[in-house]
Structures are given as C-alpha cells and as structure tokens.
C-alpha cells in the first residue's frame, strides 16, 4: 500500500482497469456469503435491466470475510472471458472487491466506496446492504434514476414496515432529524441509498474520517451532511425490507450506530440546525410509508422491567444527564403497571433533548450517555406498543406525526439547555 493512502495498490490497479463510469454500486460486506450471492445477482440484473447502456461497476469493500463473500461478488463481472455463464449485456460490467481490514468497519468501507466513486468519476452511486433478503432489481433503478435523470444528490429509501418495526427510527431518529434539521426524512439512517458523485466527492473531503468521531453510523453523517450543505434530496419507496437475520436485537450497539453519530453531528452542525424552524417535506417517489399490521408477540412485561430497573439502577447517571423534573417524571412512570404504562410524547422529547445536550457537554463519558438511553428507549417503545396494540395504520402514523410536531415544538427547549449548559 502506498504511503498516506488508505487505498491499496491492488484496488488502484483494478480501478485503472474499470475507468470512468456512469454508475457505481457500493457493497460493504463482512461474512455475508449467505445473502450476498443473490443480492449481487439482483444488482447485476438491475444494472442490465435499467441501465444497459451506462458504464457501471460494482465495488465491494470487504472487511476481511472468511466465507468467500468477495469471490461471490467478483463472480458478477460480465466480460469477454467468461462467456458461457454471462447474461446478455451490451458492455463490460466490472465487479471488483477490495479487502480493507481484518475486521468490519463501516466508515472504512464507505470511505473506500466514496474514494472509488471519486477516482472513477461516477455520476450516480448507490450503496446496497449486504443483508437484505428482499432486495429487488428495481431498487437499483429507484435509487439511481433520481440522481441520474433528475439531478438529486441524495435518494433516501422508505419501506413498508410493520407498525412496531424500526421504533428507534420512528420514535427518535426521524423526529429528531426532522425537528432539528428541518427535513422530513423518514429513513435518516439508511443502508440502501443513492447519491450523486458530486455529493460523495464533497463528503470525502470533509474532516470526518480521521478524527475518530463518526465510528459506526457514517451513513447518517453522510445524510446530515447532505442536508446541511443543502444538496437536493428526495425519498423513494422501495417496498418491504427483510433481513435474513434481524439486526439490532442488542439495543446498545444500535444506539451507538445511530444516536451516537446523530448527537455527534449536532455539535458541528449547530449553526445550521439552530437556525432552522419547522420542517419541510421531501419530494417522494411512491408512498412515504406503508404499515403492516400483522399480529406480533412482544414481551411487554420484560420491556417494562428493563425500563423500571434501568431507571432505578442508573438514577445516579440520570442525575447528571436529566433535569430533576424529567427524572422525577421518569421515576413516576416506572412505577406504573404494565397495562397502564405510558411514556408521554412531551416527556420523551425532553428526555431525548436532555440526553443530546448532555452528550454535547460530555457531562459523563459519551458512550455511557448513549448506553444510559437504552432503558429509557425501551420504556418509550413499550408505551408506543401498548398504545397501538390495536391501532390502525392511520393511528400509528398520526401518533408518529404528533411526536414529530412535539419535537419541533420543544426545539427551543433544546436550544435553551444546549446554551445554558455551555
């Protein structure tokens, strides 16, 4: 590897062979052999079906897989050597892989993809999740066409979700992003998204890579950067998103990947979001959301116990983070019975804002702050599930909208405590 470059010479050699492209598909992987074969085939089909004339490349940034993942990706190349198994294609399709480390590290993978896009002068790019089992070739078109044809710089997805799926997004990430940044972006932390080479190139030069701050959740920082630099954004409905293995079963890592980067971004972005009031809708292709109402079993008792235990055991930590009123209210609801349990929107908003301000102030270790949010989020999730056990799709959506408005209404409160704590 050349000095002062995170790109390997091998990758550079492969990129020379690829040359300038119109479309780049980025695929971060780490031991995804179970799913990656079908995903790559779907990507290949999408390129051939929707962009048969464009110069395209699939770039796999692999974190040291030992299960043959890279080989499955490179097998999607279409060239004039392996003629027999190739599907019909007007032109060559390169599918290349580079190993960046011996462990998965999302920022390195994403940076590698952005660097490849920059070097190849890619005009439209898309990052695809290596885990989605429901990916369709049309997703490639939906995420790239707004960039390619309509001049958008970021295309975020929306999905058909179960009403209790993605509660971290619907109860925290979406409303906070919306209230603070003024953009009604349903999936601020997306694993599939399209973007322009222009946006990718600008983000690549930002000082977010070497300061260690982004950690996981670099995609969220990317989205927020698109907002603050006022690039053109839109949303696109992709349909149902399934995972082979449900991620996020462990809440704390999920919070570290999402809320951590969000809170981190609030500091450099303060001049931007502090000047924003209200929120604006984004152009959306297809429905903004679709809600599934199937019956699911949720262990509400355990959620309530984890919430109550957390409030009790972390009282000292919360005293550093939360205002006395908020803490007192939390301690009150921690005593409520399961069927009577509620976590009012205003209380939840104040909780989140006080956590954000404390994170900013670093009242204690920032990672401890993120960890401490876990039991409280469980409480909010319990309240949401309890409230909408029999709720319709409309009820759920109205509730999310009301929560968003509450975050917007109380934004001055965040500004107040943000400054006061400074």
């Amino acid at each position: 590897m050349a000095e002062d470059s995170f790109l390997t010479d091998d990758l550079l050699r492969q990129l020379i062979n690829v040359g300038e492209v119109d479309i780049l598909v980025g695929l971060p992987t780490h031991n995804n052999a179970k799913t990656i074969g079908s995903i790559v085939q779907t990507i290949q089909s999408g390129i051939l079906r929707w962009f048969p004339r464009e110069r395209a490349v699939i770039i796999n940034a692999d974190g040291g897989s030992r299960d043959g993942t890279p080989e499955l990706v490179t097998g999607a190349s279409i060239d004039d050597v392996r003629r027999g198994s190739n599907p019909y294609a007007l032109r060559t399709l390169h599918s290349i892989s580079t190993k960046y480390a011996n462990s998965p590290a999302a920022p390195v993978a994403f940076r590698t993809i952005l660097a490849a896009a920059e070097l190849l002068q890619a005009k439209a790019c898309v990052v695809m999740s290596p885990e989605s089992s429901s990916v369709e070739d049309e997703w490639i078109s939906k995420l790239l066409r707004p960039v390619r044809n309509d001049g958008f710089d970021l295309v975020a997805p929306t999905y058909r979700r179960h009403k209790f799926e993605g509660l971290l997004i619907t109860n925290l990430l979406y409303p906070v992003t919306r209230a603070l940044y003024g953009v009604r972006l349903r999936e601020p932390y997306a694993q599939e998204f399209g973007f322009s080479g222009r946006l990718g190139g600008e983000f690549l030069t930002q000082n977010v890579w070497d300061d260690g701050s982004p950690g996981d959740g670099i995609e969220l920082r990317f989205t927020l950067a698109a907002i603050t630099t006022q690039h053109r954004m839109c949303q696109c409905f992709l349909g149902q998103k399934d995972h082979v293995e449900q991620r996020g079963a462990d809440l704390v890592p999920a919070l570290r990947q999402t809320v951590g980067p969000l809170f981190s971004a609030l500091e450099p972005d303060f001049p931007f979001w502090s000047a924003v009031s209200g929120s604006q809708p984004l152009p959306t292709l297809g429905p903004e959301h679709e809600v599934l109402l199937d019956l699911v079993r949720v262990n509400r008792k355990r959620l309530r116990e984890m919430f109550a235990t957390g409030v009790a055991e972390l009282a000292a930590v919360f005293q550093s983070i939360l205002s006395p009123d908020t803490l007192a209210e939390l301690q009150r609801i921690a005593l409520l019975e399961e069927n009577d349990f509620e976590y009012p929107a205003e209380l939840w908003v104040k909780t989140v804002y006080e956590f954000a301000a404390s994170y900013h102030k670093s009242v204690i270790s920032r990672d401890h702050i993120i960890q401490a949010l876990a039991p409280l989020f469980r409480g909010r999730a319990l309240a949401f599930i309890t409230e909408h056990r029999n709720g319709s799709a409309e009820d759920v959506e109205n509730s999310i909208e009301a929560l968003c408005l509450e975050f917007e209404r109380l934004k001055p409160y965040l500004l107040e405590i943000w400054k006061s704590r400074e």
Binding site: R13, G19, E20, P52, D79, D80, Y88, L90, R91, T92
Partner: protein, 546 residues
C-alpha cells in the same frame, strides 16, 4: 507489375470498392466511366490496394443503382463500351490490380427481356424462369428485407395476372433456380466475364436463390447445392478465380457458404462491422471480441472479408434489438439518417470527422483476420449527403480536387449524375485527393503508409488470432501469428489515455518493434507488460526474438 499468381491471392488483397459512375468522368457527360477509372488506376496503385471491386455496370433502368440488371452480357452505355471495360481490365492487371465485378444472381430487373417474356403469357417458354403464383400466400415465413418500401415479397403483375416473387424491390423479380435452364444461363453469364479476364465475382444476395414452403427461404440446402455447382465449374474451367459471397447472416449461418472449401472463397463478415462501431462508441471491446469468438473456423483456403462502410446503409440486421436501438441513438440521432434496418452514412461523418477514430477503425480493419475492403473516398474522409434519397447520399462523386466539380467531371454541374458534397466540412474544396497528396500528414498519406505496413507481412491476411484479455476492457489486444512471425496489436477504444497490463508471458524474451516507426520497445519479461496508449491510439508490434 505482374499479378500475384498465388491462387490464394485474395488472402493478401486489399480491396477498393468503387462504382464506375462515381469515380471519374473522362468524357464530360457528368457520369463516371471505364476510361475515367482506367485513368485513375495510378492513384489506386499508389494508395497500395491490389484489387478493385466494381459495383454493377450492366445495362439497367438504375432503379436500384444497377442491382436491377437488364442485360448481363453488356455494359451500361453511360460507362462506355465492352472494349473500354476490357481496356480497364488489362490496365488494372498490368498494375498488379485484380478486378472483382458484381454478379446479381438472385434477381433481374423487371425490364430484363427474360422477365418481359416470362410475364407475357403463362405458356411462354421463359415463364418458369421466375417464381409465379396465383396467390400471395406462399412462403409466408419469409421476412421482408426492404421494410421501408415493400409490404410483401409478392407483387401483382397485371399483364399475366399473377403474383411474382421478389425478395428486394418489386421491380426486381427473383429468378427461379429450380429451373435448370436458369442455372445454366447464369453460369453462361459468369463464363462470359471470366473469359474476358475478370478475377472474381461478388455474388449478390446469395442466401435467397431457392424458395421452399415452410422455411425462411434463406440459406437453404438447395441454394448451397447450386452455389457449389457454380464453384465446381469455376475451379474446373477458371482456376485461381474467386467467389465472394454477399450474405448478410450470423456467423454460424454464414459458415455453410464456405462449405468444405468448395463453395465460396470469401464472405463478408456482416455482424462484425456494426460491432466495431458499437465497441468504439461504448469504449468497450466486448461487442467485437464476442462476435469474433462466435465466428466459426473456416477452411484454410477461405477468408473473411471485412469492411467499415460500403455503398449500402450500415446494416443493423445482424444485431439485437437493444444493440440496434443503441446504434441508432449513437450514430443516427437524426432519423433521416436511418434506412431500412441501418444507417446511411459514410465513415468520416459517422465518426464525427475525428481523425483519431478514423485511423483506429482503419487500423482494426486492417489487422483483424480477413481481407479489408476500403470504400471509395473513405481514404480521404469524404462526407455524405443525407438529403439525397435512398443510399445515394454515400454514392456522390469522388472528390479529386478543389476545382471545377471537384475534379470529377468537366460537365456543367447540373449534368452530374449526383451533386458533389458541398458543405464546409466535407465539401470538395476541403476534402479532396489533390490537397491531401500535398500534405504529408493527410489521411490519404496515412492510409497509404498503413496499407504498406499491412502488406509488408502476410500475417494479417493469413495468420491466426489469439485474443489477450487485459482487465482494462477499453483495450482490444490480440496477437496475429503465422509460422514464426507474431504481431501484437493493441487498440485503445477509448477517447481517454489508458494504461494496460498485457499477459505476454508466452512471448517472454521477444522484443516488440513498432511497425510504423520501427522503434523497439522494452523486451517482454515475466511481469505483465505495461503499455500506455493515448486516446484512440493503437500499436502494431512485430514480436522479434533476437
């Protein structure tokens, strides 16, 4: 310069395609003629070609540029006399240039006396010389070739009150090759010209000679049997003469036209040509290598005939629908440039008059396996006139100078058979032989030098080809080999500079010598051989083990 007596002369040939009418007018009547062409043989000899292919020059109503023949044993009066043709033939031979003429076997003009007799009554002795029917329902599985003008392969003849079969224009009735008298008569026609001394025939539209119900009426075994019989007679009576097939077919369907070396000597490789243009526009070798890899082996005495442009439209029959749409968008955005399933444009306008791309395409034409054909005027980068109907826009007078009528004719401009190209970019004041002869860096001089390099070795005409597959898909690289001689060809299909690593381990120890400048390059070693190429640049390296 005597003619090369090798019976495989066509493998080493560089053919120049020209229509007598278009080349040079010696008598000032506005139409090119045999004497005019004879006067310009020195130019062609200097260019370096060693065969000319003359488009039809027979008596004809000229409703299809002479492919509608009304008399096979004479020449059109506009072009001169049979004696003039003999003189042209002899002069060409004396300069080492062979002469290939057209022979339209499949059909005649409806003005041909044979057809006039055939239609005159149902019991005329020549009635069965053409394909007649009381209905237009026969041979339903047969495609229509000239989609823009014809609705059916049958045409109603009001005189004999029956339908006659025609695969091309309705004024070109197909001959009935099931009739032995027709087969005999057409051989007599060929013999007439062979005895005069012509070296080869380009046999037009050969897949369509025979019709059979329930088939596509193309490439039938019966057709091949007829062609084999013609070849047998040719070899017996006129050894060393050559047959070139015009069969616009896929390679696998073309292969039978070579037989076991007992049918055609040569055949046009129609599918390759559009893919060369496609590869250039895509900046991707894939279309080119794929079609060549699909091209079957042919008998050792046979040869492919390669071309970039000719008198017809750039045919897109042998491409997929997706490829055709791409080609239209890439090369004929203006729909008036499209004709039938093709693009009626010349080489230089197709390539935006980009000298680098013109050179690259000619470089590939002359280095891929086969015998190259250069269409008249393309050696100086002539343009076209899409405002002229049909394919006439690519059949305008040769531009010899910037003077009166471009040096083509002394006639009043209004009398010319077709107007000269006059636009500022391609018009005769800007693009002509005289000015290019005076410029050492002109396209004409470049073509002369490339032809000389091509003719300096038999490897291009007779050698095998081995494709290299560098990871850089913009680079088309191959090695041509013949005996101990090896030539490495590297083409950059891209408009940007490229780096490429070639796996030349098989040639380890060889010294590449660039064939135009004769400069030596670093010796081939164990490591991948690194080359950098400028936009659309190409190299021919002789690989020498010294």
């Amino acid at each position: 310069m005597p003619l090369n007596q090798d019976v495989l002369w066509y493998k080493d040939a560089i053919i120049y395609q020209v229509h007598v009418r278009t080349f040079y007018d010696s008598n000032g009547d506005g139409i090119g003629d045999f004497q005019g062409l004879e006067q310009k043989l020195g130019y062609l000899q200097e260019l370096g070609i060693n065969a000319i292919w003359l488009m039809p020059f027979f008596p004809s109503p000229l409703r299809d540029d002479g492919y509608d023949i009304a008399d096979y044993n004479a020449v059109h009066a506009s072009y001169g006399t049979l004696e003039d043709f003999r003189n042209l033939l002899n002069s060409a031979h004396s300069r080492g240039i062979r002469v290939i003429i057209e022979m339209v076997l499949n059909h005649t003009s409806d003005q041909h006396p044979w057809f006039q007799e055939s239609r005159s009554s149902r019991d005329n002795p020549r009635r069965d010389w053409y394909v007649w029917s009381d209905t237009d329902n026969r041979y339903k599985g047969t495609r229509i070739i000239f989609l823009d003008t014809e609705k059916s392969n049958w045409a109603w003849d009001p005189i004999s009150k029956a339908y006659y079969w025609h695969r091309f224009f309705s004024h070109q009735p197909d001959l009935n090759y099931d009739n032995p008298a027709v087969r005999e008569q057409m051989w007599n026609v060929m013999r007439f010209w062979l005895e005069m001394g012509v070296d080869a025939f380009r046999l037009d539209a050969v897949p369509y000679l025979v019709e059979r119900e329930g088939t596509s009426c193309e490439n039938l075994l019966e057709t091949h049997a007829i062609l084999k019989e013609l070849r047998r007679k040719l070899d017996e009576q006129f050894p060393g003469r050559m047959l070139l097939a015009e069969a616009n077919q896929w390679p696998a369907d073309l292969r039978p036209y070579f037989g076991e070396g007992d049918e055609f000597h040569m055949a046009f490789h129609f599918p390759l040509m559009p893919r060369m243009f496609m590869g250039l526009k895509l900046e991707d070798r894939k279309p080119i290598t794929e079609i060549l890899q699909q091209t079957p082996e042919i008998p050792s005495t046979c040869q492919w005939s390669l071309f970039l442009r000719n008198h017809d439209e750039l045919t897109l029959e042998m491409v997929t629908d997706i490829e055709r749409d791409y080609m239209y968008d890439a090369y004929a955005e203006d729909k008036t440039m499209r004709l039938n399933l093709g693009i009626r444009r010349r080489l230089a306008p197709l390539l935006d008059n980009d000298r680098r791309r013109i050179e690259l395409m000619n470089g590939m034409l002359m280095s891929l396996p086969g015998t190259p054909i250069i269409y008249y005027g393309d050696e100086i980068g002539m343009g076209d006139n899409i405002n002229l109907g049909d394919r006439n826009g690519v059949r305008t007078p040769m531009q010899w100078s910037g003077g009166w009528n471009g040096g083509f004719s002394t006639a009043e401009p209004d009398r010319l058979y077709a107007p000269l190209i006059q636009n500022p970019v391609y018009g005769y004041p800007a693009v002509n032989v005289l000015s290019q002869l005076g410029s050492g860096h002109s396209l004409l001089h470049w073509m002369q030098s490339m032809i000389a390099v091509r003719r300096s070795t038999a490897v291009f005409g007779r050698g095998s080809i081995e494709f290299l597959h560098p990871a850089n898909h913009r680079i088309l690289a191959y090695v041509r080999r013949l005996g101990n001689e090896s030539v490495l060809v590297v083409n950059n299909l891209s408009g940007a500079a490229q780096a490429v690593e070639l796996d030349l381990r098989r040639y380890k120890g060889n010294i590449p010598i660039e064939m135009s400048g004769r400069n030596i390059f670093p010796r081939v070693g164990d490591l991948p051989y690194l080359l950098t190429l400028g936009p659309y640049q190409f190299f021919w390296f002789r690989l020498r083990r010294i």
